[in-house]
Symmetry: C2
Subunit: 223 residues, 2 copies
DNA sequence: TAAGTAAGTAACTAGTTAGTTACTTTGTTT
DNA sequence: AAACAAAGTAACTAACTAGTTACTTACTTA
């Protein structure tokens, strides 16, 4: 439990952040790393303090409790994804291109954010106990936009009429997520490196192949 | 920490099991329930002892350590699935029917075995640390059988030639698993009960629709 | 520059838990 | 039925950890 002994206000590194905001930020990043690795129960507050180069007392000062820090770590990370997500949907041109692009963005977001994949997995096992405190606020405004977008895609004939859009969303999520959330399992049985760029591109192609040839009306038969 | 005070050897209830085998069995079942719910770290040995109606000391007598009990709980539960799985594959008639049946069996196995879904999820977060001690023994003999079966399906023209069978397996697994492993999340946003029989059948139909219309050569266009 | 406040620190406490010890009870074999 | 082994028990301990207390240092503003 060392804490950062000097800690001068460093305008170069901290930008516009005040010292306290910079400390909070460091705690959130450390919390993300540790909680993603070990979950709420498995993580030690002392460890997070060390990782953040801050005294444990300050975690209680800024976040009140371990549990509350965990919720704020979830909020921080979900917000990052949803902010990015909305910008993709809003760039509304051709639905087909937007759908393909959205799947690609989501897939590579997961590929590059192991902590996010793991935080979601911990929350699934927590029965979404903590995520439910932050997710509705984020999803409720986004949901009608997404739903309407997909309905337009359906009415334009791109998505088959008999497909339930909710299942489609679950399936896209599943096809992307499981590749990462179970990657140690896959890696046990695959020779190639699961995370190699060429393998990622192969997986994405497979997903788009399933979704577009299985669900969407995608021009002529082409096999 | 009561333990079972009377515990007469009860041949009616225990069948062929000796008393010690029956105790081991009770510990494994209790371990399955508690570890599935709370994971390795979150579970308390005292709690497992209570659930098994046995003294904690006996857990150490039969299983040596909490960690080792966890591994044996994994072995017990994976073995149950794999035993069932092999019998489906071996009933080798029409590949199309067998594939459909295998997906249905797996899907409903997961639907009925929440503890199994959760044990797998904990292991994913453990980077398969403990599952890797038992899985290869189970999968290694089954793998060539499955692979050859799928290759026959591919050569018979049922599965498109340009589909990587490994990705196909990951995808089927993903489409089934995520519906259950994230069900609290889905339930937050869906009105209907995710686990209602009609909803399960709907999900399975959707999965088979994706797989058969997207991946397999499934007769004529039918939409 | 003095006073007040925000940020940071070290040492402690109260509660918890995996694993052990020293023991008793139950069942089996000769 | 006596001797022995298997199964079961209660109470303990050593290690750990979330959260607190009483304090010092750094920064800001009048």
């Amino acid at each position: 439990m060392k804490g950062n002994p000097t800690h001068p206000l460093n305008p170069e590194k901290s930008g516009d952040l005040t010292r306290s905001e910079e400390s909070k930020q460091r705690i959130l990043l450390a919390g993300t790393a540790i909680f993603a690795q070990k979950g709420l129960e498995g993580s030690r507050v002392d460890e997070i303090a060390d990782e953040a180069h801050i005294n444990k007392r300050m975690i209680y000062h800024y976040f009140e409790s371990k549990e509350n820090l965990y919720v704020e770590v979830l909020r921080y990370n979900y917000t990052k994804l949803y902010t990015r997500g909305s910008s993709v949907i809003q760039s509304g041109t051709d639905p087909e291109i937007v759908i393909k692009q959205a799947i690609r963005e989501y897939f590579y977001y997961l590929a590059e954010h192991d902590e996010f994949v793991r935080l979601m997995s911990w929350e699934a096992l927590n029965q979404e106990k903590y995520a439910n405190r932050v997710l509705p606020q984020l999803i409720d405004p986004a949901e009608p936009v997404l739903r309407q977008f997909l309905q337009v895609g359906q009415q334009a004939g791109l998505i088959r009429k008999n497909i339930d859009i909710r299942h489609l969303l679950v399936s896209v999520n599943a096809l992307c997520l499981v590749y990462f959330s179970r990657r140690e399992m896959l890696q046990t049985f695959w020779k190639e490196d699961i995370m190699a760029p060429s393998m990622l591109e192969e997986r994405l192609t497979h997903i788009q192949d399933i979704i577009f040839n299985g669900i969407l009306n995608y021009g002529e038969e082409e096999m």
